[in-house]
Symmetry: C2
Subunit: 170 residues, 2 copies
């Protein structure tokens, strides 16, 4: 067992020993979803004030709304959420490369067969060159989608990994 797997098992023991919230309902109690980045420096529950059971939390590389659309439709249409809080962040890895750079790294590390699988399954890494613009573009994408009804409230934010602050963009 790896050290990381041992940590999961040890945490399971301690967390479950004092766990008292086993009767929470499946649909989020506060009917919202947070979409943010997978970045290791973000703890959404603490930084954005999410209590257990209150909100769906979707995370992917760059907090991409395009990538998250399947989860967003399930959250809204099947589980009744009516508000989206989209948070990208300073220092995001997605600001630092272009698609062709990433494809070159896969080619170098994993070879031609991997690149072929990449073109089929990951046609776009969805990097972005400007942070605030990317927040605005993703909010526009959601507002333009027929899959997100106009009654859904959408806001776009930037989390600062340097300060722990979250500021509104749109």
């Amino acid at each position: 067992m790896s050290a990381i797997q041992k940590n999961v098992e040890a945490t399971s023991e301690s967390y479950s020993a004092s766990f008292t919230q086993g009767d929470l309902a499946l649909p989020p109690a506060k009917k919202y979803l947070v979409l943010t980045c997978m970045d290791a420096r973000i703890d959404p529950a603490r930084a954005f004030g999410i209590e257990l059971g209150d909100a769906h939390v979707i995370r992917n590389a760059g907090a991409s709304a395009v990538d998250a659309l399947r989860s967003i439709v399930i959250s809204e249409q099947l589980l009744g959420t009516t508000e989206i809080v989209l948070v990208k962040h300073t220092g995001c890895g997605m600001l630092t490369f272009k698609n062709e750079d990433a494809v070159g790294i896969v080619q170098k590390n994993l070879g031609a067969e991997a690149v072929s699988e990449l073109h089929q399954k990951v046609p776009d890494f969805l990097p972005f060159p400007k942070l605030e613009k990317a927040v605005e573009d993703d909010v526009k994408f959601l507002k333009a989608s027929k899959l997100v009804p106009g009654s859904v409230t959408i806001s776009g934010w930037v989390y600062e990994v340097e300060t722990g602050k979250t500021r509104r963009v749109v």
Copy 2:
């Protein structure tokens, strides 16, 4: 401003006031990623023992490895992670419906244009009928992918929303 947006702003004030971890590096310090569900009843940091800065956390509806592949490749190939901890959970919404049910709900709530956009952008909601089997299948999918080198350690788990326990499946 909505109550949820007010909560984000108020939390930003209090969280940043005592924030002392503004110098964490971009790559995860412990070189691993956790893939789990967006479910509101899961707090990955507390339940799986993830310290700020240690691991990427990817979350989507059902903890789908297929859906997360873009983020996983970025995590491994661009940011150096070498271990995947995949955690699905009891009581998951993805166990409760089939694709045709979800398409029917979108048709009823949002109409034919939305269904047309759905077929184009979300061809599969990726539900699953059996929990442990779905964990095994996703681990197999990752192990079979040329985009995940054999040197990456992969484990599959189930988190119990009723007890707060995380148990190993594969």
